[in-house]
Each structure stands twice: as C-alpha cells, then as structure tokens.
C-alpha cells in the first residue's frame, strides 16, 4: 500500500472511531497537545490508560468474587476508571462506568457483574482499535510520511 493510501486509510479509520462512538472530542484535545516537544504524548497517555484500566478491571473482578463485597471501594475504582476513560475520550467505556457506579451505589451485585462484563468487552474493543490506529500511524512514519490531522 502506498503512502497516500495509508494516510487515507488512517483518516477513514479515525473518522469511524468517532462516528461509531468509540472516541469523543476529548481524544482530539489529546492529539492537539502532541507536538515536537512531546512527540509521543498520545501514545504515552493511552498507554497509561491501558495500564490503569487493566489494573482496575482486575481489582473489580476480584472484588466481585468476594463473599462480602466492598461496594464503596468498588465505586471508587469505577470512578477512577471513568475518570481515565473520560480523559482520553474513550466514550463507550466512560458511559458504562456511569451505569456501573449506579449499581455500586444500589449494592446490586447482578448489575455490577453485568456491567463489569460490558466494560471489559468495550475496553477490549477500544484497546484493539487504538493499537491498530497507532500501528497505522507508525507505518506512515516508516514510509517517510506525516500523520494527517
């Protein structure tokens, strides 16, 4: 695939992520902060999001396996996940966290379990999509091109 085609593919792919609700304008804000002084800013922030999310999803899974569920602690963890997903524009994950917090508040175990599965699913999707996008960007850079805005 030539450079122009790669760049076009990236633009189309990025557009689809917004159009399908995976990303929101916060991701655009993130990209606007990247410059020659911070050339890897977006990748760094998104990597932190991946680390945060995986740790929190792990902790939430363990919390829901306990005999006595600490809903307050779970709520704090979902709150963190909501904050970091909102900060990178991971729109679907963020929206599910709002629902998840409501179930934590209501001490609804079934609701929490269902939400956790949904969040894990959406997180898996956005992680794959962002990694694909970064790979595409790297291919463009390797081909000597620049990333289209």
């Amino acid at each position: 695939m030539d450079l122009i085609q790669l760049q076009r593919q990236l633009v189309d792919y990025r557009t689809s992520l917004y159009h399908e609700g995976f990303l929101d304008e916060q991701f655009t804000q993130l990209q606007s902060l990247q410059d020659e002084n911070n050339p890897d800013f977006v990748v760094e922030v998104v990597s932190l999001f991946f680390e945060d999310s995986e740790r929190l999803l792990n902790e939430l899974s363990k919390a829901l396996e306990q005999q006595i569920i600490d809903f307050k602690r779970m709520d704090a963890q979902v709150h963190q996940l909501k904050g970091s997903s909102s900060s990178i524009g991971a729109h679907r994950v963020q929206k599910l966290c709002i629902v998840f917090r409501n179930y934590c508040e209501a001490h609804n175990v079934e609701g929490c379990l269902k939400c956790l599965q949904q969040v894990k699913h959406e997180y898996g999707i956005i992680k794959t999509k962002l990694e694909s996008m970064f790979q595409l960007e790297q291919q463009i850079l390797n081909a000597g091109g620049s990333i289209p805005v």
């Binding site: 916060q26 963190q80 904050g83 900060s87 990178i88 709002i98």
Partner: protein
C-alpha cells in the same frame, strides 16, 4: 483571589486567546498518573513551570516546606488526603494561590461542597484548553494588580 468561592460561571469567557506565560508556576494534585500527565503537559504548553503531587497530603507538605505556586489544580477524590481536606488545610495555612478544583461529572452537590472548602473555581475534568486560557488570563490580571 483567595478562597472567595467564585463559581465557574463568574469567569469572563475570553475564548480563543492564547496565553503563554513563562513566570507562572502550577501544582497538579491528582492520584491518577494519567490526569497528572495530561494536565502537566497542558499547562507546560502555556509556558507554566509545573510540579505534580499524587494526593492532598503531598500537596500540603510541599507548601509546609515553603513551596509556592500561582495555580493549584486540585482533584477531589484522592486517597490519604482528598481535595476538600487539602483545600481547607491550605486556606487555613494562609495559602492565597488560585486553587481550581477538578471533579467528575456526577453528583449535583459535588462541586458545591468542594467550592465551600475554599476553591476559587471548580470544573469538570479534564480541563479544556479554553478553560486553562481563561484561568491564566485571570491569574495574569491578578498578578498585575499586586
């Protein structure tokens, strides 16, 4: 401008103006490494010198040690010492920095309780470039008056 509890709506909305200032210092207080990085880079783009703290106690300790900052971005929910407690403590110490609370988008009373601790402004996180511009305009005006 210290702990007068102004709401975000009382800011003059001067949008679209870039404010680059190499003399201002900021402290970003947040337990999330992601938010710390985000706000750190954001403020640095405007020329501020930025330090970060992972909770309210670290922030308060910095001030106890004699550090001073023009702007403090204070997350609300943090372990060890949360934003409300840290803000109250800083104001009780006589800190006159602009303290801006950053909260999540839930709880109607969330911002109000935080404001009452002594914030100058409170916004949803993460801060947008427009809000940061406006805050810096306010800081610059405040510094000119002194």
């Amino acid at each position: 401008m210290s702990g007068n509890g102004a709401s975000s709506s009382s800011l003059n909305m001067i949008s679209g103006e870039d404010v680059v200032n190499n003399n201002l210092t900021a402290l970003v207080v947040d337990d999330s490494p992601l938010l710390r990085l985000l706000h750190d880079i954001h403020l640095k783009k405007y020329g501020l010198k930025v330090q970060v703290a992972e909770n309210g106690k670290v922030a308060v300790d910095l001030f106890h040690l004699g550090a001073s900052f023009d702007l403090v971005l204070m997350d609300k929910e943090m372990p060890v010492m949360n934003g409300v407690e840290a803000t109250k403590e800083l104001r009780a110490m006589g800190v006159t920095s602009m303290i801006v609370g950053v909260t999540s988008k839930d709880g109607p009373g969330e911002q109000q309780a935080f404001m009452e601790a002594g914030l100058d402004y409170c916004f949803e996180k993460p801060l947008t470039p427009e809000i940061i511009s406006i805050l810096l305009e306010e800081l610059n005006k405040h510094n000119k008056k002194d």
